[in-house]
Amino acid sequence: MNPALPARRASALGFAATLAIGLAILFGAPHVLDTFGLVQCTGFAALAMFGLSQGFVWGFAGVMSFGQAAFLGLGGYAYAVAVINMGDSSIPVLLSILVPMAFAGLLGYFMFYGRISDAYIGVITLTVSVILFQLVNATSGSQYRIGAAELGGFNGIPAIPALNAPFHPDEPLDIDGIWYAAMGALILVYGILRAVLAARLGRVIVAIRENEIRAQLIGYDPRLYKLIAFMLAAGVAGLAGCLYANWGGFISPTVFALPMSAQVIIYVLVGGLGTLVGPMLGAVLIQALIIAAGSQTVVDSNLGLGLVLVGFVLLVPQGLLPVARSAALRLVARVRTPRPGKAADTFATERAR
């Protein structure tokens, strides 16, 4: 018997379960939540997608991109500028994916083909996002415009036209519609990333993360695969940016700033590096925490976030999902076999950092 099968079965089961839960949330939320709650959740969905992008590029490809906020921002701004100019949201959505991907292609080529080491990639991507922040922040004044869209400097771009039914600009989506679009997109992107990871491309990407030398000696060019993963993650972050812009109808340069890059890293860390579901859960959890923290005055939200981050690094460095998963596995193993035994090795599909 192929020893990889039990692991694959467990993994397929997990995927099916996640999909089922996702679809349940997709269709159930509008009936359970009021308008305010639904809008909140739309924001959660956008940030969960942002978390997915970070989780994919860092946890699976091993690329320490600390400036994913750059792509979030580029996607959001690309959507905003395009939809203001075009009136119909269909092409702008595409642009929100393609513009960050193109930028990632250039930056990635610069970094990976320049053999820049891992740690430096973190600092460089962070710096690029800071550069973008500085540039966009300084665009106050009506001379800074792309077509009909003024960039607005630190005030950002207000009143961004919402998504409309594809190629029907006279049918803008309502609150429910935007929820379906956002959550539906999240489920779709999750599915696509899962498919990529199960395919040869994904296996190679993970192998390169595991041992770049061995992957090279098998004949794979690590630079190319890292570039592909980087671009893919940028596209996902860009789409998240589009959803983010739709969430508030508004975008500002803070989307490029350090706190945004920090937040998404925290999502991944809390949720579990090396998983896809973890970052999504982490996003929802942390965002909920931020909102709760913001509405109380006992502990400053930065202080709280900082303590959470430090606490996690020191105490739960693997993140919540892997800890929960291995605890669940131990439970299952103990239930299945009367004697205490180790969890079957074949379930050990944890990808270490």
């Binding site: 192929n2 020893p3 990889a4 039990p6 692991a7 040869r200 296996r203 190679v204 993970v206 192998a207 595991e210 041992n211 030398i213 061995r214 992957a215 090279q216 000696l217 098998i218 004949g219 794979y220 060019d221 690590p222 090795d345 074949t346 050990a348 944890e350 990808r351 270490a352």
Partner: protein, 245 residues
Amino acid sequence: MTPPGATLRPLIEARGVTMRFGGVTAVADVDFTLGEVELRCLIGPNGAGKSTFFKILTGQLKPSEGRIRLRDTDITGAEPHAIARLGVGIKTQVPNVFNGLTVHENVFVAAGRRKSLARTRAIVDETLTRLALTGIAGRLVGQLAHGQRQWVEIATVLAQEPELILLDEPAAGMTHDEVHRTAALIREINRTHALIVVEHDMPFIRMIAKTVTVFNQGRILVEDTVERVLADPRVRDVYLGKQAA
């Protein structure tokens, strides 16, 4: 099969290979030839330059001077992945395996480049059986004993279906039995493939070697059959630390 009487074109031909690291010359003006389906052992004391020369052959280092050809292709300074694609399988001194993946997954990734799924599966099964790894196929490689990790690495090399196999210290850290099995494996591989083996373990060398190249201080000291090399007093002196004549 080459018709009898025809001269065999060398598989590997290196001329004037030199490697300098700052002020240190690790490899000095080395000429080296390997024939088709030839098995060559590289030996020499620590620091003799054999591992550096090995890394130059695999593309992990770019030589300061010299040229290396793999049949008709110049591979001097080529990227490791490019050299691998030309049909060279490489096992490194420190095992480079995918620790977080299972044995099966390791071999699968190695076997699967540019091959159909069915063919890949066939190669994986074949290779696992050949190296007696089927029993531990589901184990995480990071948790295996050193000797087993070496074999997993050899399995990944073989799964690529290379023409030339380069092994850097394949017997390191192995038990007595494992060493014997590895030697048998190498002799079996040599029936159809060329190999270059860098080794320290003398009994192991005796088990597999035909022609031996002895490195010393970056140069080739002597290159001859294993019997004559191991009987050569210069080789013994070099290992015992005395200056070679």
